[in-house]
Amino acid sequence: MGPNKKSADKAKNFKKSFKRLILSLKPHYVSIIFGLLFAILGTVLALALPNVMKIISEEIFTAVELNISIDLQRVMTVAIWLIAMCISSALFEYLQGIIMAKISAKVTKNMRTQISEKINRLPLKYFDSQTYGDILSRVTNDVDTIGQSLNSNLSSIITCVTMVIGALVMMFVNSWQLTLITLASTPVSIVIVLLIVKFSQKYFVRQQNSLGELNGIIEENYSAHNIVKTFNAEQKAQNDFEKVNKVLYSSGFKSHFFSGILYPVMNFITNLVYVLVCVVGGIISIETPIFAITIVAFIEYMRIFNQQIGSLAQISGTVQSAVAASERVFEFLDEPEQAEENEKTAKITDVKGLVEFKNVCFGYEEGKEIIHNFSAKILPGQKVAIVGPTGAGKTTMVNLLMRFYDINSGDITIDGVSIYDMKREDVRELFGMVLQDTWVFDGTIRENIAYGSEDKTNEEIEKACSFAHIDHFIRSLPGGYDMMLDETANISQGQRQLLTIARAMVNNAPMLILDEATSSVDTRTEIQIQKAMDKLTEGRTSFVIAHRLSTIQNADQILVMRDGNIVEQGTHEQLLAKNGFYAELYNSGIQA
């Protein structure tokens, strides 16, 4: 398990999460009851086996003792019964197994679906503050843990408890004296086990910690290999590594060792009881020889009893991690969602593209307002350039327009309608968007371009691609428009950018949000992208996160951002005349 794959081992609130996990099984209660029923039936039959076997032993033993021949007919009859019992016991166990497999498959599938749907209902704020790895590990690792645990444990608990009780009853039936001896030893084993576990726990924790630390060192040094080398720091790195490696070694050794002695110590106690049972049983048999057979059956039940107690301890461990995993899943499912908007009905059908910001205040974190009282009016068809140094918060404008984030106060209107009176999806429908980090997904080029507008014909798609100067390139690829795109596909960053422009073109939204490419493309492609973007913005109200001087100079309005806030607004000439931050940026050799 990598250092990044977080998966809790212990639940924060065991009781609550456990209850919730059980409740989540509600639709399957009937099947579960059947499963449990089969489990109990199978167990009871399995338990009866040694006692029925005893009938044969007794028959043989008495015959030998009395020196008469064994009633083979009787032995055969009993044997047939035994076979029938063990086959039906196995059958019940199998039925139980497939029922539980089905339930756990359904439950985990449902959980995954819920998570996937939840992702699309959470506000963007959540994703901007969480690592993807964490969410991914909930979809896979945590759900898997739950699935495995449901598959095996739910019925195992019932089987084990039935076995323990059943074995105990059968032990009493066979001999109460021997049962008491066995029971007397149980608390002793439990205490010893707890002591060892408690003692070894700290080494496990230490091992886990030093393992994490070591993984950190490894990751760091491998990723920064160039720096380690040029700074001649290999020896230093090795020394740091050896220190942690040594700690890991000693804690690893101890945790291995202590978990290793748990079994022999428990086994020793079992053996001790075994010997006592043999001797005391033997003493009883001095008076009643037939008791020797009882010893044999008794020892069989004792074996079952001990085995099941051991399994119960093991199951309790996996149940704990399953509950911890389900806690993480539920935690994610409980994250506050975006507000419901069913009652919002405002819609703009014939968009002109008049966008107005009215006294907008906004901050990503509560109490930390970054945009103060911003107002602007953008007329239909105008082009707005958003400029500012890296990290000045240029994407904030995108976040607000697309309602990825909601403003604190003020209003944003389109053609006079507040975007907060519309459903989110209706607002987003008004905008086409091309971002700098070009997102393409696993699928054909055609699917990628027609994303969000599946009803488009091939002609429309191809037309958009010729506008975006990428039709020719696509046709030169193996498979053309039907080529699959994935990580291995050999498509450059610039071509990806053109693809996303074509996507926006097909989408044909009345307004646009563009993020100009910076440096990751070569000059020729950059010119093509520029042409494609110019074509795209023709006649549409557009917001451009601008880096190129020509775009900025030709913009109808420029918003200058710094430290998250909009510090200046106006046209190129107005802003230069103002001789403020924009002028400073421009004069320091703006290649923005």
Partner: protein, 581 residues
């Protein structure tokens, strides 16, 4: 895996032999314990037929049995001790060897394996091997010994019962082999399908803004449902198959007991078998079945360890292609010269760099510009020998860089990577990375030159903690700190691999001004995307598709080099370029 065993020390082998001895002891005592029970039954039976039996006799036997139990316990503790010792010290050695091996790798080997794969190999795979060694010592030795002893005990006692046992073992093996033939390929496919789920989810997460902008949430959910359904089906198939295992084993084990009792009844009737022999026979037979089960489980466990072992060995058996030279002492001049250098990646057909020649002298600044893929970064990677040139010569201070020891060469170089990677620790520990004894003044000066005034505002200043990779400071701050880290080292030659890209223009400009002033004796080699960053370089080399298409100052190149002019115009605007003419 076997090749890795050479990393075990000689005494580890000795200790392993001791483990085997103790396993034999443990199994033998275990079997004696079972036999003793048979003896008790035999005594009782004899008593029923008239032989004397007292409780003292039983207690005598009982005490012997207790001693055996103590012996077993001690044996297992010793085994656990040795197995833990051997396996953990083995993994410690492996980790240490692998780590130092990877540290010796050049970029070529790093790229061959990929960083991510090297990390899993150094962590997960080694743990897997450790687990396998531990399990082998604890379990794998025991199972055959146990099977051997038990077989030895029952052989000769009864042909018929032995046959029954053999048949059961065969049935058990058939069951397990059947399950694994059908289930194991599915395990791999479950892994692949889980990866797919991961992929679709990751796709949704990374493209969350696009998904929402295009109102395509439903499509993503449908896509997810398809892979989800697929994974669920495979999971269900495997779980149904594996549900056969436990009932199947129970039938075989119980079936064997019944068979032994029935056969036993016939044999006892025929007078060829004792009752007590039959009772102990059942125990041995169960032991044999369990041993075979263990052995087949090992066949499942061990291959995983073997795969991991192979992956580790791949690292250890790789030797780096870049070696130390004999070592030269040179004057600290700081000149760098490329003489007709060609470079292509191993196994590649086309050259990434062709016929590169230039010279830069002490105190000068040389800059490389060109579009992505033009070979700028590759070119400067040749100087600290991340790769070796395929043809041609690179001279530093007039000496071929292959003649230096790598550490001598690195001492001359201050390298600032594109992604300003910082190490976990503090700002101080990062700055002192190249020179542990750097004075406080030196650090403060380096911060000043690199425009890292923000450090003063941080809690703890120089002792402000840095997270792994430097993720707790911004990209621009990371770049400035890694520039400061190179300054502290006071090298003759600075290499800046696009190290100003995350800075805004103003900071970029002041930083370069300060650098020029404070490091006027040092040679500076700069790769840049922005023309503005390199306007005042002494020499600018323009690269296009791996070839030099121009060399000169900004003004010269505007006149002579079409590619440079194109880049400059697209970045600065046509008017600005014409203005500087």
């Amino acid at each position: 895996m076997l090749k890795l065993l050479k990393y075990l020390k000689w005494y580890d082998y000795l200790l392993s032999l001791v483990v085997v001895a103790f396993v034999v002891g443990q199994v033998w005592l275990n079997i004696r314990l079972i036999e003793s029970m048979g003896e008790i039954v035999a005594l009782i039976q004899a008593h029923a037929e008239g032989a004397p039996l007292t409780s003292e006799m039983l207690w005598d036997l009982g005490i012997k049995m207790i001693l055996m139990a103590v012996g077993i316990c001690l044996c297992v503790i010793v085994i656990a001790f040795l197995a833990s010792k051997i396996s953990t010290s083995f993994s410690r050695t492996l980790r240490s060897k692998v780590f130092s091996k990877v540290n010796s790798f050049s970029m070529e080997e790093m790229n061959k394996f990929s960083t991510a794969s090297l990390i899993t190999r150094s962590t997960n795979d080694i743990r897997q091997v450790e687990q396998t060694v531990f399990m082998t010592l604890r379990m794998a030795i025991m199972a055959p010994v146990m099977a051997g002893f038990s077989i030895a005990k029952i052989v000769g006692s009864s042909m018929e019962l032995t046959w029954a046992t053999v048949i059961s073992v065969l049935l058990l093996l058939v069951l397990i082999i059947f399950l694994f033939i059908f289930a194991v390929p599915k395990f791999t496919s479950i892994q692949k399908k889980t990866d797919k789920i991961n992929n679709v989810t990751r796709e949704n997460l990374t493209g969350i803004r696009v998904v929402r902008a295009y109102n395509a949430e439903k499509e993503q959910e449908q896509k997810f449902e398809i892979v989800n359904e697929d994974l669920t089906k495979t999971n269900l198939f495997v779980n149904r198959l594996m549900a056969l295992l436990s009932p199947g084993m129970n039938i075989i084990m119980n079936g064997l007991s019944v068979a032994i009792y029935v056969l036993g009844a016939y044999l006892i009737n025929g007078g060829s078998l004792e009752y007590s022999t039959m009772v102990t026979f059942v125990s041995y037979a169960m032991n044999i079945l369990m041993s075979f089960m263990f052995i087949s489980m090992m066949f499942v466990m061990v291959p995983r360890g073997v795969v991991s072992g192979r992956r580790i060995n791949e690292i250890l058996s790789t030797t780096t292609k870049i070696h130390d030279g004999e070592g030269v002492k040179t004057e600290n001049e700081g000149s760098v010269e490329f003489k007709n250098v060609f470079f292509k990646y191993p196994d590649a057909e086309e050259y990434v760099l062709e016929d590169i020649s230039f010279k830069v002298n002490k105190g000068e600044t040389i800059a490389f510009i060109g579009s992505t893929g033009s070979g700028k970064s590759t070119l400067i990677n040749l100087i600290p020998r991340f790769f070796d040139a395929s043809e041609g010569e690179i001279l530093v201070d007039g000496v071929d860089i292959k003649q230096y020891k790598l550490s001598e060469l690195n001492d001359k170089i201050g390298y600032v990577p594109q992604k300003g990677y910082l190490f976990s620790g503090t700002i101080r520990s990062n700055l002192c990375y190249g020179d542990e004894n750097a004075s406080e003044e030196k650090l403060i000066e380096a911060l000043k030159i690199s425009q890292s005034n923000f450090v003063k505002k941080l809690d703890g200043g120089l002792d402000h903690p840095i997270a792994q990779g430097g993720t707790n400071v911004s990209g621009g701050q990371r770049q400035r700190l890694s520039i400061a880290r190179a300054i502290v080292k006071q090298p003759e030659i600075y290499i800046f691999d696009d190290s100003f890209s995350a800075l805004d223009y103003k900071t970029d400009k002041t930083l370069r001004k300060a650098l020029k002033k404070y490091t006027k004796d040092a040679t500076k080699i700069i790769v840049a995307q922005r023309v503005g960053t390199i306007l005042d370089a002494d020499k600018i080399v323009v690269l296009n598709e791996g070839k030099m298409v121009g060399m000169g100052t900004h003004d010269e190149l505007l006149k002579t080099c079409e590619v440079y002019r194109e880049i400059a115009e697209s970045q600065l605007g046509k008017e600005a370029v014409d203005g500087t003419k």
